[in-house]
């Protein structure tokens, strides 16, 4: 690996000082992606800051205003957190899919988000939950809707000196559920050829969709919302036919490429299949 300095701050203030310094400063959470990227020259760094020891970044708490997940909290803890297990199930689905058990023990949710891979598995799940990113710098904190957080493959809107502190998922309402599915060629170790995360809230009296969120991975330069499909769903009764229409509409939001992981045509087909399946799972979970 190329040479870089390394720091391990234990407070947010110390970390923000480090991130404000000149040069390329990179956060290390689990290191599962960044170390490989540094080794192969896909990213460079003058300094690497291990942020796992900062208390704010380890937060995992359900409060009156939502579920707070510190950016450095590891995926195993998140997937096993009771509110995630019972309510934020799309997030649990996706956290358990990332890499192997050995990777999940180390990888942090914030790392998966800030790595900003088009294929990042947790991102569609978070997008489907209208997640907000809380970002800090020496000049204060700001909130960014996660749907506005990604600028391109491997790129976020974070400014120099800013770090992701936590992700906040709004409280779950009655009669709502989420789910995430991805397609991989093997049963383990692969990156999503396509991933789909869905959230549905139903009006129990007439089975109409009050709110729908669908987000897709690996079909565009960044994870994307399938807004056309959401519009198909909202206000209508959640029937098999409606789910099929939404699945077809979701393809409109996908602009996939052909690569070693799959052809563009194949990916479009998978968007339809996975959208349909995740919506079906949401319905089953609500009716559960």
């Amino acid at each position: 690996m190329p040479e870089f300095d390394f720091a391990q701050p234990t407070s947010l203030n110390d970390a923000l000082d480090l991130f404000a310094a000149d040069g390329e400063v990179r956060a290390l959470v689990g290191g599962t992606d960044i170390v490989d990227q540094l080794k192969t020259g896909r990213r460079n760094a003058d300094m690497v800051v291990d942020v796992k020891r900062i208390p704010e970044l380890q937060r995992l708490e359900l409060t009156d205003d939502g579920l707070h997940i510190g950016a450095a909290r590891n995926l195993t803890d998140i997937a096993e957190f009771p509110p995630v297990v019972s309510d934020y199930r799309g997030l649990a689905d996706s956290s358990l899919l990332i890499g192997s058990w050995q990777i999940q023990n180390r990888a942090g949710l914030g790392g998966n988000v800030c790595n900003a891979a088009p294929s990042g598995d947790t991102i569609p799940a978070l997008l489907s939950h209208d997640t907000v990113a809380v970002v800090a710098s020496k000049s204060g904190t700001r909130e960014i809707a996660l749907s506005d957080f990604f600028a391109g493959p491997g790129q976020t809107v974070l400014q120099k000196g800013e770090i992701l502190v936590e992700l906040v998922l709004p409280l779950m309402q009655e009669n709502s559920a989420s789910s995430y599915l991805r397609f991989i060629p093997r049963n383990e170790m692969d990156i999503a050829v396509v991933g789909a995360g869905s959230f549905v809230q139903l009006n129990p009296s007439n089975n109409t969709v009050l709110k729908a969120r669908i987000a897709l991975a690996s079909v565009a330069p960044t994870p994307v919302r399938a807004r056309a499909a959401e519009e198909v769903l909202e206000g209508n009764a959640l029937t098999d036919d409606l789910i099929e229409m939404a699945a077809v509409a979701a393809v409109e939001s996908a602009t996939p490429i052909t690569d070693v992981r799959g052809s563009a045509e194949y990916r479009r087909e998978l968007v339809k299949v996975l959208t349909r399946r995740t919506l079906g799972i949401c319905r089953d979970r609500i009716n559960g």
Binding site: F6, D36, K39
Partner: protein, 153 residues
Amino acid sequence: MHLKVNDESLEVAVDAERTLLSVLRHELGLMGTKYGCGEGNCGACTVLIDGEATRSCITPVTSAGGREITTIEGLANGDELHPVQEAFVEHTAFQCAYCTSGFIMSSAALLDRNPSPSDAQIQSALSGHICRCGAYGRILKAVKSASGEGGAE
């Protein structure tokens, strides 16, 4: 920096960018942990950090500072091999054995957390390891027998 490896406290002078794998092998001479891919994909480099199975090839050595690191060389309890080590020999759970250290470390971590795992739990815990000799079936049997669930072959 300060490292605690196989119950020994060590001071090593290394650069921050070094991986734990590189330091274990080259500075500490612990050659039982193997390089397979350098990308965290094959599992050959797996060690325990505070009891958790971890890919040493993508772990910066600095992030392991002060934590309990266990390698294949430190798994035995004195002269007594870990039950997983014994079971791997008994069940011929390897051919070339290059991936074996990694499989054993993850299996040991699994049994530590869950002393009687199901087949599915074992397979899931080991699914991040590649054995190109295809000994998966034997490895499964070995781990089951080490957990006290499986009999001899």
